[in-house]
C-alpha cells in the first residue's frame, strides 16, 4: 500500500496536477505612431509599454501610459496630452485580444492575426492586426504595423489644426517577451 501511495505522489509531483498557464512578459515594449500631412509630420514613441501573453490560452494584453510618449517637440506632447488625448482623465490605453491560430511549438517565425479590442480616450474599437511572431530560445518577439482612424477615438482636433494631423495614423509596435511568473 505504501509503495502504491509513493508511486502515486511521485507521478502527481512530476506531472503537476494543478497546471498553471505559461505566460511571457514585455515590460519595455515599443509603440510608435506617425501622422503624415503636407503641413507637418508628427512622430512619437513609447518605450515602456507593458504586455503579457498567456501562451496556453493564446491571449494577449497590452497597456501603456499615454503621458510616456516622447515627441520631437514639447509643444506637440503638450497638445497630445492636454488637448487631444486628455491624459489626465484617460491615462492609459489598453488592448486585450487573442492570437488566432497561434502555435507555441513553432520555433522561428509565424505570421498571425491578433484580434481584440483597443480602448483609448474612453472609446473602444475592435481591431484585427497582422503580426509577426518570432520565437528565439526562450524569448518571443511580436511586431507589426497597422492603421487606425483618429475619429474612432472621439479625439477633437480644432479646425485650425485639422490640416496638421492625419485622419489615419500609422502605428508600429515591437515587444520582446521573456518568461514570467505572476
Amino acid at each position: 500500500m505504501i509503495r502504491v501511495l509513493a508511486i502515486f505522489f511521485l507521478i502527481a509531483g512530476s506531472t503537476n496536477l494543478v497546471e498553471v498557464d505559461e505566460k511571457v512578459i514585455a515590460r519595455q515594449g515599443k509603440v510608435s505612431f506617425f501622422s503624415y500631412t503636407s503641413v507637418e509630420d508628427i512622430k512619437a514613441e513609447n518605450n515602456q509599454v507593458l504586455s503579457v501573453i498567456d501562451l496556453d490560452q493564446k491571449k494577449i494584453a497590452v497597456s501603456m501610459l499615454m503621458n510616456a510618449f516622447i515627441f520631437e517637440k514639447a509643444l506637440m506632447r503638450e497638445h497630445f496630452n492636454e488637448s487631444y488625448l486628455e491624459s489626465d482623465i484617460y491615462p492609459k490605453a489598453v488592448f486585450e485580444g487573442e492570437i488566432i491560430d497561434f502555435d507555441r511549438t513553432i520555433t522561428g517565425e509565424q505570421t498571425r492575426i491578433i484580434k481584440g479590442v483597443f480602448a483609448m480616450h474612453g472609446k473602444s474599437k475592435e481591431l484585427e492586426i497582422k503580426s509577426k511572431i518570432e520565437k528565439k530560445d526562450n524569448k518571443y518577439i511580436v511586431s507589426g504595423v497597422f492603421e487606425t482612424l483618429v475619429k474612432d477615438y472621439d479625439i477633437n482636433i480644432p479646425p485650425l489644426l485639422a490640416g496638421n494631423i492625419a485622419k489615419s495614423i500609422s502605428v508600429e509596435f515591437r515587444f520582446e517577451y521573456e518568461p514570467y511568473e505572476d
Binding site: I25, R27, Q28, N47, S63, N67, I70, K73, R174, Y180
Partner: protein, 136 residues
C-alpha cells in the same frame, strides 16, 4: 520700410523664442541640477503608487534602489531598480543620453540613487529622462 523691417524682425524673434521653448521642456531637460520634490526607496515608490491612484505624475523625484538590470532595449539605455522584497515589480528608469559614460560603470546589484521624471505605474513604475544622482 524701416518700421516694416523692425516689425518683421520682432515677429521672427518671437517665433524663434516660441520654437525654442516648444522644443525644450522637462522631458528633454538635463535634470542634474533640478531638486527632486520627493525621495523614495524603489520598494516604497512601487507600494505608494500601487495603493494610491491619485499621485502626481510629471514630478521630478529621486529613487534609491538595487540595480536589477541595465539594458538597451529599443536602443534606449534603461536601468531597472528593484525593491528589497517585491518580486517581478521594478522601477523602470529611461536614462538621459548624457548618462552613457556613467552607466558603463553600473553593475547589477549596485545600490544607486536615480532622479527622473515620474510618469506613472503599470505593473512597474515608469520614469523618464533619468540621471544618476550619486552612488550610495
Amino acid at each position: 520700410m524701416v518700421r516694416f523691417s523692425s516689425f518683421l524682425f520682432a515677429i521672427v524673434f518671437i517665433f524663434s523664442i516660441f520654437l525654442f521653448v516648444g522644443c525644450g521642456g522637462r522631458i528633454n531637460e538635463d535634470l542634474s541640477s533640478v531638486e527632486p520634490t520627493k525621495r523614495y526607496s524603489a520598494e516604497n515608490l512601487i507600494s505608494t503608487l500601487q495603493s494610491n491612484k491619485e499621485y502626481n505624475s510629471e514630478e521630478v523625484i529621486a529613487v534609491s534602489g538595487i540595480v536589477y538590470e541595465v539594458n538597451s532595449i529599443n536602443k534606449r539605455i534603461t536601468i531597472l531598480l528593484a525593491g528589497d522584497t517585491l518580486k517581478e515589480r521594478f522601477v523602470i528608469c529611461d536614462m538621459n543620453t548624457s548618462q552613457i559614460s556613467i552607466i558603463k560603470t553600473i553593475r547589477k546589484g549596485d545600490s544607486i540613487l536615480i532622479k527622473g521624471l515620474l510618469k506613472g505605474i503599470l505593473k512597474d513604475v515608469i520614469m523618464l529622462n533619468c540621471v544618476i544622482e550619486k552612488d550610495q
